[in-house]
Amino acid sequence: MSQTAAAARTDTARTGARHGSLGDSIFAALATGAGVFVLVLLGAIIVSLFIGGLPSFRAFGLGFLATSDWDPVQQIFGAMVPIYGTIVTSILALLMAVPIAFGTAFYLTELAPGWFRRPVGIAIELLAAVPSIIYGMWGFFVIVPIMADPIEPFLIDQFGDLPVIGALFQGPAFGTGIFTASLILAIMVLPFIAATMRDVFLTVPAVYKESAYGVGCTTWEVMRSIVIPYTRVSVVGGIMLGLGRALGETMAVTFVIGNTNRISSSLFGPGNTIASIVALEFPESAAGSLKLSSLLALGFILFVISFIVLAISRLLLRQKPMPGAKA
């Protein structure tokens, strides 16, 4: 049946080509245009960010990346603290989100009773649809007070005096800071990662899994030896999707990170990210000022970081080709 339909379609296409080659070429041009447009748009954004940031790169050189100052009075700007904050909060967020996302997807595809999968699945999708400003306000008015008292004081009392790792748990308990920002980010990226993982886990052919069960594998062994190797590429893709969102997240982070241009050894210390400092400083930057240029330069750096993340993920996937990986 489908073969007949396909044959019919090919026929129409041929007739179309014979009678309306103009229509075809217009359509082809439009489709090509749409494809090229995205590429040009991306290139234009990068180029304009780079040109905008050029005065700053000229003024500070490579030192821009290694300077932790952000002093609009002295006109000294450096990107080190925002870069550090962006990377640290994103990695911490992934460390928190990936295990939970994996657990959620594992539960939904292997363990949950059939009638329960749909409501949880929909809940995950809804979580992904919540606007970031809502996470920001919820974080600021609900999570921050809880972090300020009792969570952070408790952790500071318990771990603050330990050697080495004690440094991670010190300072006043503002409630805002790197840790709270990472927590909010983790909640925000969780649905993306969980939804991707669930979808790709479902693509594993039942026959593979059944064979494994047939030779006596436990559920976990099936997960580890069949499902994960088979879906590895897509799982990493889902995590990268989450990382991408975490790197660029602006509003929610701005609310809870403490917005301070200092690198603190403590997890509870305040910080900032590239996106948050750009959002906060942009409205008060005069046209043509070094500050505005530095903010655009930061935007360019964020682009570069995203590219590096993407490149690393591709590289990781290429190094260990798995026979089962088809996705």
Binding site: P72, F140, P172, T254, G258, N259, P270, E284, A286
Partner: protein, 340 residues
């Protein structure tokens, strides 16, 4: 037939009666400072009803306001910080003040009520420099006999976004504390040595409310509306004053308007026994060579109306109207300097 003509006449009469309002409702566009945005909004509503000028004001920040008027994309720009004279000259802009406002310190110390704690600019500078870190620091205790100050860490809170409020506050600290001037300085955003940043006046207010031992600074209106715990400050004459409208007005009246070029008056740390020390004016930037003289004239008509009739609205929102003499002097500048 007669009925028809009568009906037509009535309709026409109705149209002509309605027409002048419709024709006269002219738009002026402005962009800039967030600090005076509430009063500009109220003035806009009232002026539309009174003189048929509709104000479309976008509070995008002082820096943005300056950019927009330099590019001439709006009819006027608004800025909390006065623009420097050469910059005004270069971009052919006339600068004039509209209203004044005050910045007040807010604190969250268990057991300390509003306007009981006494602070000085020097001590606030030391707090924000991270040199005084406890509320029971001897310097604070000595100043506040009779107030029980707990052994609690001070958590300074500041505006994380670039803002006119920060400019005013850091100008004050720079004026009274040489250490602050040397290490930090005054700007819409500075390199803070201690504390946490929050977004917007409301963000600072909410953070101070949430964090025990915190201190922050906000526009006065935010402190009154949210019933925050404010403090007394020592003024130029060495007197401790509470943040009241009377104290703000006293500071405005003691300002030296005559010797301020482009009205770029400095009301920070004003003289007078009852003056509040952190008061500042907010400014409008208007092209001296307007592209569209009619729109430009409507801008001046709007502010002329606001000077004459907008005082009560401004006071109601806790802004301080300009002194009469200054208003007249601004009106003279409009006539003299704007090409019509």
């Amino acid at each position: 037939m007669k009925l028809v003509t009568t009906a037509l006449a009535i309709t026409l009469a109705g149209l002509t009666a309605a027409a002048p309002v419709a024709v006269r409702a002219q738009q002026v566009t402005g962009a800039g400072a967030t600090f005076p945005a509430p009063v500009y909004a109220k003035w806009g509503e009232a002026a539309k009803a009174a003189i048929g000028i509709e104000l479309n004001y976008q509070a995008i920040g002082s820096g943005g306001g300056q950019n927009q008027i330099i590019n001439r994309t709006v009819d006027f720009g608004a800025s909390d910080a006065p623009v420097e004279a050469p910059h005004l000259e270069q971009n052919k802009l006339l600068q004039f003040p509209t209203v004044m406002g005050a910045v007040v310190p807010i604190v969250n110390i268990p057991g300390v009520e509003s306007n009981k704690l006494k602070l000085t600019g020097e001590l606030m500078a030391e707090i924000y420099l991270g040199q005084i870190t406890k509320w029971n620091d001897p310097k604070l205790v000595e100043l506040n006999q009779g107030v029980t100050l707990p052994n609690l860490a001070i958590a300074p809170v500041y505006r994380a976004d670039g803002s006119g409020t920060t400019f005013v506050f850091t100008s004050y600290l720079s004026t009274v504390s040489p250490a602050w001037k040397g290490k930090v300085g005054a700007s819409t955003s500075v390199k803070w040595a201690a504390g946490n940043g929050a977004k917007g006046n409301d963000g600072v207010a909410a953070t101070v409310r949430q964090v025990r031992g915190s201190i922050g600074y906000v526009e006065n209106a935010y402190a009154t509306q949210n019933k925050l715990v404010t403090t007394q400050l020592r003024n130029h004459d060495g007197q401790f004053v509470a943040p009241t409208l009377a104290a703000f007005t006293a500071a405005a009246e003691n300002g030296d308007w005559k010797n301020a070029p482009n009205y770029a008056i400095n009301l920070i740390d004003a003289k007078g026994a009852t003056s509040w020390p952190i008061v500042s004016a907010t400014f409008i930037l208007l092209p001296k060579d307007p592209k569209d003289p009619v729109r430009s004239a409507n801008v001046t008509r709007f502010f002329d109306w606001a000077y004459t009739n907008g005082g009560p609205i401004a006071s109601g929102l806790e802004y301080i109207p300009l002194p009469k003499a200054v208003q007249d002097s601004v009106r003279a500048s409009w006539k003299a300097e704007i090409k019509g």
